[in-house]
């Protein structure tokens, strides 16, 4: 399988090189990515509807931690920021075909991400937590005691990986919100999802009032992905430091109940 894949990729890359030689109505890959972005005057940010990182306010404008963060960086770069809602499965295709300039949407820095993008340093920390019915919470205080439970988690997510590593019996579902619904409906005893999402969507005043956040399995960090070899990741690291020092990021973190990375 791997051989076939690498052959196919090789063929594609050969084609790509042939393509580069002949024509290039956009820039060639040797020019710097940040220049490409400042020249066209817009930074196109690939996102999904994912509270509290990116979501629409009542007027239909994008807001959230990442949206406000990106706007602040856009101001510093002197470019307009444009948000495009993408199909998350195609995020690397979107990036490499230049239909977006970066993936900036609470993306966990994994080896998959670092292999496919030039990733910025971490700006927010997140945890994979166990969510279950609040009345059962007291009985399960460590991973060992949960081995007999039925878990659900998003297929391919960091939560699923954490649950598998802990030796849980996991059913994969298509989205983190589905995992929550599995627990609410009683089809699963517990689920493993993002800590930020778990805090925002469970407890009093939410649609999942009878669910609560339990123990933390693993912690992870969010980064912004740019095209492989782009100089933008380095640039953004500089902006992250500036925005941290002037307190902008801390204010945003408090507003959206997140934890900044160290």
């Amino acid at each position: 399988m791997k051989k076939v894949l690498s052959f196919a990729l090789g063929a594609l890359m050969t084609l790509a090189m042939v393509g580069c030689g002949g024509n290039s109505s956009s820039n060639s890959s040797s020019a710097s990515d940040s220049k490409y972005i400042t020249d066209k005057g817009t930074l196109i940010v690939g996102i999904t509807d994912y509270a509290p990182m990116d979501f629409k306010d009542d007027n239909g404008n994008w807001t959230g931690f990442d949206a406000e963060f990106a706007e602040a960086v856009g101001k510093k770069m002197g470019v307009k920021v444009e948000f495009v809602e993408i199909n998350w499965d195609n995020k690397f295709l979107e990036l490499n075909s230049k239909s977006i300039d970066c993936i900036w949407n609470g993306m966990t820095i994994t080896t998959e991400v670092t292999e496919n993008t030039s990733c910025s340093k971490a700006y927010v920390k997140n945890e994979q937590v166990v969510v279950m019915k609040s009345d059962k919470l007291a009985d399960y205080t460590d991973a060992e005691s949960m081995k007999g439970l039925k878990f659900s988690a998003e297929s391919g997510s960091a939560g699923e990986a954490a649950a598998n590593d802990a030796g849980f019996n996991v059913t994969a579902v298509t989205a983190q919100s589905d995992a929550l619904m599995e627990v609410a409906s009683g089809s699963a005893d517990a689920c493993v999802i993002d800590g930020t999402m778990a805090k925002a969507m469970t407890g009093e005043g939410t649609s999942y009032a009878d669910l609560a956040v339990g123990i933390t399995l693993t912690s992870e960090e969010y980064g912004v992905g740019f095209r492989k070899g782009s100089d933008m990741a380095e640039k953004l690291n500089g902006y992250i430091d500036e925005l941290k020092n002037d307190g902008t990021l801390q204010d945003l973190a408090e507003k959206y109940e997140l934890t900044l990375a160290d």
């Binding site: 594609l12 084609l15 790509a16 393509g19 580069c20 002949g22 024509n23 290039s24 109505s25 956009s26 820039n27 060639s28 890959s29 999904t48 509807d49 994912y50 509270a51 979501f55 495009v84 809602e85 993408i86 199909n87 195609n90 295709l93 979107e94 490499n96 075909s97 230049k98 239909s99 989205a175 919100s177 589905d178 929550l180 619904m181 609410a184 969507m201 649609s207 999942y208």
Partner: protein
């Protein structure tokens, strides 16, 4: 109740995109399909083989893959500027459906007996005259049932547009699951599809009836 109305409006907006894809695909694929069917029946062998190979490739690969290649391909392979998302959807759908339609046209055209052509010749009609005045209407009658089948499939295939982030009705419904844990909007989309394909079914029934006087 308020939620129901706001979801209905939101889904209706998505269904607007669905209908746009549907209508534009038909508008372009009907004539293009006829053109391709002529190519696949051409007496000039290289052209016939070229067209047949093309039809084989388009019919032999998933529409979803074609969407991805048409939208991302130019940027990934040649570093060209990309087509707008909606345009890419239209290109993929029109090409795909033209190929299916061309086979339906071919079946219809080849089923008309030689006698009809000969009758036209006896009356001194030219080749284009014979095709448009004698053959075409009989073909139309014969292809209504298979065409309606394909057209109703098209209504539902439009949901593939969300693969390249064109926001049609299923995309809108799925965002309720992601954001609010509301699953009923997704099931509710079925009502929109059913209603529309119901209207189409009635329409095709009406057309078939209208064509009854033509006993080919």
């Amino acid at each position: 109740m308020e939620k129901f109305i706001s979801v209905t409006l939101d889904l209706a907006k998505g269904f607007g995109t669905t209908l746009e894809i549907f209508a534009l695909t038909l508008l372009f694929a009907f004539p293009l399909g006829l053109l391709i069917s002529f190519g696949s029946m051409s007496k000039f062998k290289p052209l016939r083989w070229l067209v047949k190979t093309f039809v084989w490739i388009i019919r032999g690969t998933p529409l979803m893959l074609q969407l991805i290649i048409i939208y991302y391909g130019p940027g990934l392979i040649f570093e060209w500027d990309l087509l707008p998302r909606f345009t890419a959807v239209m290109v993929a759908f029109v090409i795909n459906y033209s190929c299916y339609f061309s086979e339906i046209y071919r079946g219809g055209i080849e089923s008309i007996s030689r006698g009809q052509y000969e009758a036209g010749q006896v009356l001194g009609m030219t080749k284009p005259q014979i095709f448009f005045k004698v053959i075409l209407l009989q073909v139309v009658k014969k292809i209504v049932p298979p065409m309606s089948n394909e057209i109703i499939t098209l209504v539902k295939d439009t949901s593939l547009a969300r693969i390249i982030a064109v926001y049609e009705i299923i995309w809108n419904a799925q965002s309720y699951i992601k954001l609010e844990g509301l699953i009923w909007p997704l099931f509710y989309t079925g009502a929109f599809y059913l209603l529309f394909s119901g209207i189409l079914t009635l329409l095709f029934g009406f057309i078939e009836k209208k064509m009854n006087y033509f006993r080919g």
